[in-house]
């Protein structure tokens, strides 16, 4: 193996990449746009849920409940209604997500020690928002009940839940999304850089020139892989720094464990990118191929929705996806404070994936060459 030659090729690749306006654009613009858009807009946190109150009971007890809703940061009361027929238009037109109905006999029931129903009518069009808004409401009612019982001097069973969340103590969705973006953008950039590298030479006709040099196919492959890995490393480092400085997300675990994960992940991504590059005849096809790999890879990775919720068959498919393992590593190191020992089951599948994709890329490369 001629290391000097490989090194020279890698240098040439870098120069070609940085001189080409399009390649520069791909490396710089989409990652920044995506980082900002995803980090600020992609949120599952629900606040200021618009609600309407339909209170038919003028009692103190009902007013107390209403004031608890009004005082909650999660809800925003935007309408008070007094007729059944007002409910449907508010919900249908999406003016409120939730209508809270306190019936006429609410306080009477409460005082007589009977169950006092409180009806919540919810717009289920966005199932996730509806579910979380109901959770907030349930907590308020629970609190109200406890106060009522205490005020009535009815001890009963004083059971309560003391809930704590670990790793992401305030349950902010940004803490979940932004480390995921580190993985996502590293994959996108590395894949595009490597997928375009051979296709660009094919289009420009310089690939034939490369073939008549003393470099062997394997050496060309390595020379083409190096820029992808280096740029991926730089990009990942940049986004991790931004994650910690701009978004205040902790980095609690071992940096070495994170970088071991990054390197293994980059090797897998470069393998896939070179495979696409070897098959594609034009840059157009290479971009399309990268897109065809990226969309399923992102969706079936646990980036935005949990893998455990997918059907069993789809869950098995996710084992082929390097992003799946790397996401656990990034989140594990950043939030859970993991080190090597807890991540070993994420490392070895990526080693397997990287060896297979790189071998396949080498094989395809040789076949397309002659």
């Amino acid at each position: 193996m001629a290391f000097r030659l490989i090194f020279a090729l890698a240098i040439k690749e870098f120069l070609a990449l940085l001189r080409d306006k399009r390649s520069r654009f791909v490396i710089i613009v989409p990652p920044i746009v995506q980082l900002l858009v995803f980090s600020f807009a992609a949120t599952y946190d629900i606040n200021n849920v618009p609600v309407a109150i339909y209170n038919e009971d003028g009692s103190e007890a009902a007013r107390e409940l209403v004031s608890r809703i009004e005082g909650s940061p999660n809800f925003q009361v935007i309408a008070y209604i007094d007729r059944d027929s007002d409910v449907a238009p508010l919900i249908d037109n999406r003016e409120v997500l939730l209508v809270l109905h306190i019936g006429q006999r609410f306080s009477a029931n409460l005082i007589q020690g009977r169950s006092a129903p409180l009806q919540a009518i919810v717009d289920g069009r966005n199932s996730n928002t509806a579910m979380i808004a109901m959770n907030y409401l349930r907590s308020i009612v629970l609190d109200y009940n406890r106060n009522w019982l205490a005020a009535q001097g009815q001890g009963g069973s004083q059971v309560n839940l003391q809930t704590r969340a670990w790793y992401n103590e305030n349950l902010q969705s940004r803490w979940f999304i932004v480390p995921g973006i580190v993985a996502l953008l590293t994959l996108v950039v590395t894949l595009l850089v490597t997928a375009l590298s051979v296709a660009r030479e094919r289009e420009a006709g310089t690939f034939d020139q490369l073939l008549v040099t003393p470099l062997r196919p394997l050496e060309i492959l390595i020379g083409k892989a190096i820029p992808g890995i280096v740029i991926g490393l730089l990009e990942a480092t940049l986004i991790i720094v931004l994650m910690v400085i701009l978004f205040d997300i902790p980095l609690r675990g071992s940096l070495g464990a994170l970088y071991l994960g990054i390197v293994l992940f980059l090797l897998s991504a470069v393998g896939v990118g070179l495979m696409i590059s070897a098959i594609a005849a034009t840059q157009q096809q290479a971009v399309l191929g990268a897109f065809l790999f990226l969309v399923p890879a992102v969706i079936l990775s646990g980036f935005s929705t949990p893998i455990a919720n997918m059907p069993q068959l789809v869950q098995w498919l996710t084992y082929l996806n390097p992003l799946r393992y790397f996401l656990i590593i990034v989140r594990g190191v950043a939030l859970e404070g993991n080190s090597y020992a807890l991540l070993i089951n994420q490392y070895w599948p990526m080693v397997v994936i990287a060896s297979i994709t790189l071998t396949l890329a080498g094989w395809l490369f040789r076949r397309r060459m002659y």
Binding site: G124, R138, W166, W175, E336
Partner: protein
């Protein structure tokens, strides 16, 4: 427009249609992509958690703790694993074997019988905050149901004087599939209308075949209509196909009028096509067109449209940006038409917004598209 010649126009449409038919990749994008995307998102993206692995730590087993553990066993939302000590459960949480812990300390039953405070410790892995919220809600629900039952069986006063009764409209089971699949149609139409059109038309600029068209006696209006008509038909075909899959494959009810769906889709399709055309005129090469189309149309349609993430919960300035995203209006229309029905105030407001965008983008295309070379 007065001298729109049907002969020239027809010839142009015929040429464009033949071009699409001969290039199998366009047909593939219009019909294969919806299938792949719908199946991928329909089955791959789900917010419905079931059989969540939770650790139940019972330090001192007796009838009270057993009945509470039983409540978790019977719930379809949980898959309980039993631990004797909190340390081993915490280790399992660290190793990601369980998502949460319900911890009954050794004095739990004694305190419960004596009427003292009997706290239950709950620890949840908060990394996925949304999932953690949902898990927390389920734990609370299971515990409340048990508490009611426990109090009733011992003849104690009601543990929960006020009982919350939820009635969910439009999506009674709160299935995330019913919520996501209609919005997905907006994403697919964005891909066909903007990405496909931008790249294909940019290819004409790149190859210089646009110049060849410019020297023909075709008028600007004829050239534009002729270019757009075949893609409009292709996109609407993809739309109808997606609707059929949504209704028959994913069982999403179409409660509103089909014709309204068709009209609003046509409106959105035209906006998407205008944006696609504009991108191709601005970039004039396939690579830039593809990148721009992804950044300007696909990503916003995905993130800023209310398809997955709730617009009301975004920061104020991001909410303002969403008003510039055409998919926002169309997602509201399809979600309402599929799940709620013909709610005129929602439909009219959003269709009016789409119509204004249509006028805006077409006037922009009209000004930028010149029948000459720079």
């Amino acid at each position: 427009m007065s001298s729109l010649s049907s002969m020239r126009l027809w010839g142009m449409i015929r040429k464009e249609s033949l071009q699409i038919l001969r290039d199998p990749s366009s047909i593939a994008i219009a019909f294969v992509m919806p299938v792949v995307l719908l199946f991928l998102f329909g089955y791959g993206v789900s917010l419905d958690a079931k059989h969540i692995p939770v650790g139940i730590v019972i330090e001192q087993p007796d009838t009270a703790t057993q009945s509470l553990a039983g409540a978790f066993e019977r719930s379809e939302f949980f898959r309980p694993l039993h631990f004797d000590a909190i340390q081993s459960a915490q280790q399992a949480l660290d190793e990601r074997k369980i998502e949460g812990i319900v911890w009954l300390r050794n004095n739990f039953s004694a305190s419960l019988l004596a009427g003292h405070e009997a706290p239950i410790g709950v620890i949840i892995n908060g990394v996925d905050s949304n999932q953690a919220n949902i898990t927390q809600g389920y734990i609370q629900g299971t515990w409340l149901a048990w508490l009611e039952h426990y109090a009733a069986s011992r003849g104690q006063p009601l543990a929960m004087p006020v009982s919350l009764q939820q009635r969910v409209w439009f999506n009674a089971a709160l299935s995330s599939q019913l919520f996501l699949v209609p919005g997905l149609i907006a994403i697919i139409m964005t891909l066909i209308g903007s990405l496909l059109t931008a790249m294909v038309v940019a290819r004409e600029w790149e190859r210089g075949t646009m110049e060849a068209l410019m020297v023909t006696p075709l008028r600007k209006s004829e050239l534009l209509i002729g270019k757009l008509a075949p893609y409009f038909i292709l996109g609407m075909g993809g739309m109808l196909f997606s609707v059929a899959l949504a209704v028959w494959q994913f069982g999403v009810p179409l409660r509103g009028s089909f014709w309204l769906l068709l009209v609003s889709s046509a409106l959105f399709m035209l906006v998407a096509l205008a944006i696609g055309l504009l991108i191709s005129i601005v970039s004039k090469n396939q690579f830039m067109a593809g990148q721009l189309a992804i950044i300007v149309t696909f990503l916003p349609a995905f993130i800023l449209s209310g398809f997955l993430f709730d617009i009301n919960s975004m920061p104020g300035w991001t909410q303002v940006i969403t008003y510039l995203v055409p998919a926002r209006y169309f997602v509201a229309i399809v979600q309402t038409l599929f799940l709620a029905g013909d709610v005129w105030p929602v439909l009219l407001a959003n269709m009016a917004a789409l119509f204004i965008m249509l006028l805006f983008f077409f006037s922009l295309v009209w000004r930028k598209f010149r029948k000459r070379l720079d």
